[in-house]
């Protein structure tokens, strides 16, 4: 027996029968959303592993722009999934009123799993979008919260896919019945609008990492060409608490740890060493990226000068006190790469303070947060 008022139940059934709410529409939207979420999850997981590498994982230094692509795809698929998600929730909306609420143990568990699926999906896209603007209106740290919610959401998605696999397969196999012309939205029109919305969202944001589209990035929080020396900045010297006198005659770069000859080098010493130039991107975890020509001393030259072993790994320390990103790690592949530099200049000019003057790390295929600025110490392991 229905607990819903008869009019509401009739309205639900009428809406459910419309092509914008039927099984086929849900199957098509679900498939597109599943692909987007999977790509977004895998690229996000990769970014997490790169920043917190387990023992078995060595992130390569090449191709130099690989992280730029994977993180750009992560943010782009996350944003493109917003219209898909909203459309899916709208299309499935009448099913919220399905009766009986629980038909079996399996059905009850499936419906229970929808709570983390819906809540987690909305939390992920909302928190991710807020993070792009550097806005954190919650009482927890963004990266671990986003990471934990992603696992919960993907787990709930697996349950949903398993529960709906057969219905989805059938709905996609069944020929689409011809329907009489109607002034309301057809399935094709609805899905076309959702696809166009996803395309529009991508076009007005992706220019923050795809340079040629930067003029179209009307809603992107960053422009890859805006900032001192033509590059955006995530943390300024002031915000990092860097003393304005950093880089004066008292500056020393220390190279210590597992080396035969610890080094203490002044800026003059560093400038007198053979310089190497490389064009490399800064690829931020927030999805923006920009390339520049950096010049400085290869880390491997400093390691050779100090007599470090060939398999040396390095902790790069900043003058920045505290904070999650005041140091970063170079694995043995990155440390040995010719383009992993302690940069002294950008585009032929001394680094701007906000880009890490006097010395910053820049290496191929690394997240921007690991391109440590205001470097003063290399600890070799």
């Amino acid at each position: 027996m229905s607990v819903l008022p008869a009019r509401l139940a009739a309205a639900r059934d009428e809406v459910r029968a419309q092509p914008t709410h039927d099984d086929r529409t849900l199957a098509l939207l679900g498939t597109a959303l599943g692909v987007c979420f999977t790509v977004c999850f895998l690229t996000g997981l990769l970014s997490h592993i790169i920043q917190h590498p387990p023992g078995w994982f060595t992130w390569p230094a090449r191709p130099a722009g690989l992280y730029r692509v994977t993180q750009g795809v992560h943010v782009a698929t996350g944003l493109a999934s917003v219209p898909l998600l909203l459309a899916k929730l709208w299309a499935a909306g009448p099913r919220l009123l399905d009766e009986p609420v629980v038909r079996s143990v399996a059905h009850g568990l499936e419906r229970l799993s929808l709570v983390p699926l819906v809540g987690g999906s909305l939390f992920l896209v909302a928190s991710g979008t807020a993070n792009l603007s550097g806005w954190y209106p919650w009482p927890f740290s963004f990266p671990p919260a986003h990471y934990a919610a992603a696992w919960v959401t993907v787990g709930a998605l697996v349950v949903h896919v398993a529960a709906r696999a057969s219905t989805t397969r059938e709905a996609l196999r069944r020929p689409d019945p011809a329907r009489p012309a109607s002034p309301s939205l057809s399935r094709r029109g609805f899905l076309g609008a959702v696809g166009a919305a996803a395309g529009l969202v991508t076009v007005v944001t992706v220019g923050q990492t795809v340079g040629p589209l930067r003029r179209l990035a009307a809603l992107a929080p960053r422009r890859p060409d805006v900032g001192p020396q033509g590059l955006p900045v995530n943390k300024t010297a002031r915000a990092a608490g860097i003393d304005p006198s950093a880089g004066d005659h008292r500056y020393r770069l220390e190279v210590a740890g597992r080396v035969a000859t610890p080094l203490s080098l002044s800026l003059v010493d560093l400038r007198s060493m053979p310089q190497h130039a490389a064009r490399l991107p800064i690829a931020c975890v927030e999805g923006w990226s920009a390339s520049a020509t950096w010049e400085g001393v290869p880390v491997r030259d400093l390691l050779a000068l100090a007599g470090a072993p060939a398999d040396a790994e390095v902790t790069v320390r900043s003058l920045q006190q505290g904070g999650s990103y005041s140091s970063s790690e170079l694995n043995h592949v990155q440390a040995a790469d010719a383009d992993t530099l302690l940069a002294l200049t950008i585009g032929g000019e001394p680094l701007h303070r906000d880009h890490g003057f006097p010395v910053r790390l820049i290496g191929p295929n690394r997240p921007g947060v690991q391109q440590t600025k205001w470097v003063h110490r290399l600890e070799v392991r």
Partner: protein, 164 residues
Amino acid sequence: MTTPAEPPGGAGPGPGPTVLGGTPLFWAGLAVGWAIMAVGIRSALSERLARAPALARFVLGFAVVHDFVVLPAAVVLAVLTARLVPAVARVPVRLALALSWLLVLISWPAARRYGARPDNPTVLPVDVGRNLVILLAAIWLLAALDVARRVVGARRDRSPAAGV
């Protein structure tokens, strides 16, 4: 009540429901899915995220707000447009409403400059609020043009010469 019968394989019982229900694929998916969820819950409870209860409140809050506020509000909007907007204009108006809502949602933090930092002008260097208004104006202009096209088409269909 008429609900489409679930084909075998879904979690639903289909014809002849059982207490347990579900297919082997569903139960396998449930085990794998909940194991994956456990990874997330364990991570949330770890030292790196000391505010796991707050995160849980946010996730549940989004689900509750969607089901009990956003979805009913969208239904009310759909009913209102059905009653207030002539049939010929309904589709473009609804699409323009949905697209406007979407763009406002994804650009709201940037348009309101919530993440702006006085020491860092490279964050939010573009006036996203102004761009949002321009985009919304363009969307509604296109919707108006589409309505005009539909009205003209409907009149032509009704005119005596139609079909001659």
